[in-house]
Structure formats: C-alpha cells, structure tokens
C-alpha cells in the first residue's frame, strides 16, 4: 500500500513538474522581445553569450588542434593526409561544434541562470515583482530564454570556425599538409545545406533544451540555499544528458539514412 502510494505521488509530482515547465516555456515563448524592452535581452546576450566567448574560443581552438594532430597520425599511414581538412571540418560542423558548445554553455551559462533565478526566488524578488504587477515571466525569464536561444547558435558557429582554423594551424603550419588540399577538398566535401545548416538546427534545439532546463530549474527551485545548490547541479547534469541523447536522435534523423 505504502509502495503504491509513493509510486503515485512520484508520478503526480513528475507530471505536474512537466506541466509547470511547459507552461513556463509557453510564457517565455509568448513574450518575444519587443522593441521597447529589447535592452533587457541584449543585456542577457551579454551575460550568457559574450561572457562565454573566451571559453568557447579557447576550447574550439584546442579541439580543432587535437583533431588535426590525431587525424594526421592516422591518415598519413594511408597517404591520405589531404583528407584532414574535411575530417576536421565535418566533425566540427556536424557534431563537436553544436554538442561541445551546448555542454560548455550548460556549465558556464546554464548553471549561472539557474542560480540567479533561484536566488531571486529565495530572496522573494520574484514575488515583489508580482506585487508591483510586473510579470516575472516577461521581465526576468523571457529575456534570459531568448538570449540563450540567440547566443548558442552564434557560439557554435564561432566554435566551428575557430576549430577549423586551429586544425589549419596544426595540420598545415606544423605538420606540413598542403594548404591547397586542406581547403579545396574541404570545400568539395562540405555542403552548406546538409552540414552547416543542419549544425545550426542542432544547436538551436540544444539551445532550447539547455536554456529551458536552466530557467525552469531556477524558477522551480526550493527557495533555500540547499535547494538552489541542488537545482544548479541538476541543471548541468540534466542538460548534459539531454544534449547527448538528443544529439544521437538528431544525427540519426539528419545523416542516418542516405
């Protein structure tokens, strides 16, 4: 009896949390930034986007360099080091760009969003906004959500571009792959619609998932210091798992069947 009751209570809690999350997402989606409060969103693009630039550029550079180094040692055995360019470019554009950006974004910006909104809730700033007839969904949540949606695809594109340049640095400048074949085989292999646009679609989906989880976890956190720390951890864990799982599904849909 007790067991059945706990199963029921757990299910109800999960379903109602999913419902609250969906309601909050619709609230944020409905509050598209308008001209008069666009500054709130720009401010958040600065916080989640510009402040993540450094970590994105540095990791993009090093991941591109490592891939060129590893790829070169394998490809050179077959005399196919000319294929280094497409290998680096395709893996970055299709997979690593969107996925690693989303993981870094979850750790760098997602956790901060959760902690910020959670603390706003704990210090009753959200309730005060409601007291003043200001909708916290519009004023606090929506700008952060849209800033995440705008920033993440931009960060993923910068990540891929920097990674390809990093691969060029190691492959061409240090290991002596021919610069002409690095770029020209890359150009004939990479397709704008199939590779670049699909990568952008991927990072849009990841942006939706990561920002949604981050904001909901903050908005729905238990307003104590312990609750906020739990919510922050859950944001990073859940969004990383969701990104990796969704990436497989999206890859299967986009590139699975020729």
């Amino acid at each position: 009896m007790k067991f059945l009751q706990s199963v029921g209570a757990n299910t109800l809690a999960k379903v109602s949390a999913a419902g609250r999350a969906a309601l909050m997402l619709f609230g944020a989606l409905a509050a598209v930034p308008k001209a008069k409060n666009i500054r709130l969103t720009i401010r958040q693009v600065y916080v989640v986007g510009v402040q993540s630039l450094l970590i994105i550029i540095v990791s993009g550079l090093f991941i591109g360099m490592v891939m060129a180094l590893q790829g070169y040692t394998i490809l050179v055995d077959y005399g196919a080091e000319g294929s280094l360019g497409p290998m680096v470019a395709l893996s970055l554009l299709r997979e690593l760009g969107p996925v690693v950006t989303a993981l870094l974004f979850a750790g760098r910006a997602g956790s901060a969003l959760t902690a910020e909104i959670g603390l706003m809730k704990a210090t009753e700033q959200l309730s005060s906004l409601e007291m003043m007839a200001v909708d916290p969904l519009r004023r606090v949540v929506a700008p952060r959500f849209w800033a995440g949606m705008i920033s993440m695809p931009m960060l993923a594109l910068i990540f891929s571009a920097v990674g390809i340049l990093g691969g060029h640095l190691v492959g061409v400048d240090w290991l002596g792959v021919d610069a002409g074949s690095y770029w020209s085989i890359m150009q004939s292999t990479v397709d704008w619609d199939k590779d670049v646009v699909n990568g952008i679609i991927k990072s849009l989906v990841f942006a939706l998932v990561v920002t949604w989880i981050a904001i909901f976890k903050g908005y729905d956190s238990i307003p104590t210091s312990e609750g906020i720390s739990k919510a922050t951890t859950e944001t990073v864990v859940f969004s990383s798992l969701a990104v990796l799982g969704l990436d497989f599904v999206l890859t299967a849909l986009m590139f699975g069947i020729e």
Partner: protein, 156 residues
C-alpha cells in the same frame, strides 16, 4: 558595467559570428560555387557506376564543368542512368563527346570525366535532355582481378 559598453561588446559578438559564418560559407562550404547559375541537363547510361555519388564533379581535363544531379535505375533494361547538370557557360559540346567514370588518386573520390568529341560537319551540339551515347563504366577492382586471374588460367 554601463549600458554603452554592454551593447558594444554584444556588437563585437555579433560581428564575430558574421565573420564565422562568412568563413564557413566562403572558405569551408564554398557557397559561391554550389549555387552556380544556369545549368542544362545531360543523361548518360553506364553499365556500372562504381562509387559515384550525387554531387560528384563532372570534369573536362580536370576543370569542373558541372555536377551529378541524380542517379537512378532505368526501369526497362536495369542500367544506371546518371543525370548530369552542366554549367550553361560550357554549352557547346558535340554529340560525339564521351563520358567515363574515373577516380582521383588511388583511394580518392570518383568523378565523371567528360571528353569533348571532334566536331565536323553534320555533328550537332549536345542539347538539354540529350543522352550521351559513348560511355565507359567505372573500374571495379574485383572485376579487374577476376579478369587477370582468368587470363592467367587460360594461358597455362
């Protein structure tokens, strides 16, 4: 952090993204080449297309003049039909031209090699929708080895 500086840095962020998109579009995906203006269509039937794929290049003496638009199987005689879209600027090939499937390098990609034929009186130029008559199939390594062994066997 004042408003001006925030907006300036967001502007820098946007400009960096535009730079990344330009690099990806022009240098990596070569967008300018893929959206190449007017084309016309030629068809060629092969016995075996090997590893030819859609978007493989069509080359005359190494110069890309078009791409493979699609590959399908003829329903009547079950031979592969390759649809080639050729840039309009290379519009005047005589009917005696031939195509063959070649490989770039030992392990490279396969492409369609196009040999322009001689034009003399009475030979029209290829037009949109024409079939190329003279085709050579892809070289399949297993067939080649099989033939070699067969020849060796019959010599002894």
């Amino acid at each position: 952090m004042n408003k001006y500086k925030t907006e300036l840095l967001v502007g820098v962020f946007v400009v960096m993204t535009v730079g990344a998109v330009l690099l990806l579009a022009l240098n990596v995906a070569n967008k300018s080449m893929t959206s190449d203006g007017d084309t016309y269509t030629l068809y060629a039937k092969f016995d075996n297309i090997g590893g030819l794929k859609e978007r493989s290049a069509v080359k005359v003496g190494g110069v890309t003049i078009g791409r493979v638009a699609s590959i399908s199987l003829d329903k009547e005689d079950y031979t592969p039909v390759v649809k080639l879209s050729i840039n309009q600027q290379y519009g005047e090939f005589p009917e005696t031209s031939s195509v063959s499937i070649l490989t770039s390098g030992l392990l490279g990609e396969q492409y369609v090699g196009f040999q322009p034929g001689f034009s003399f009186d009475g030979v029209a130029n290829l037009e949109d929708g024409d079939y190329l008559q003279d085709t050579k199939s892809a070289l399949v390594l297993e067939d080649l080895i099989g033939q070699f062994l067969f020849n060796r066997g019959s010599e002894e």
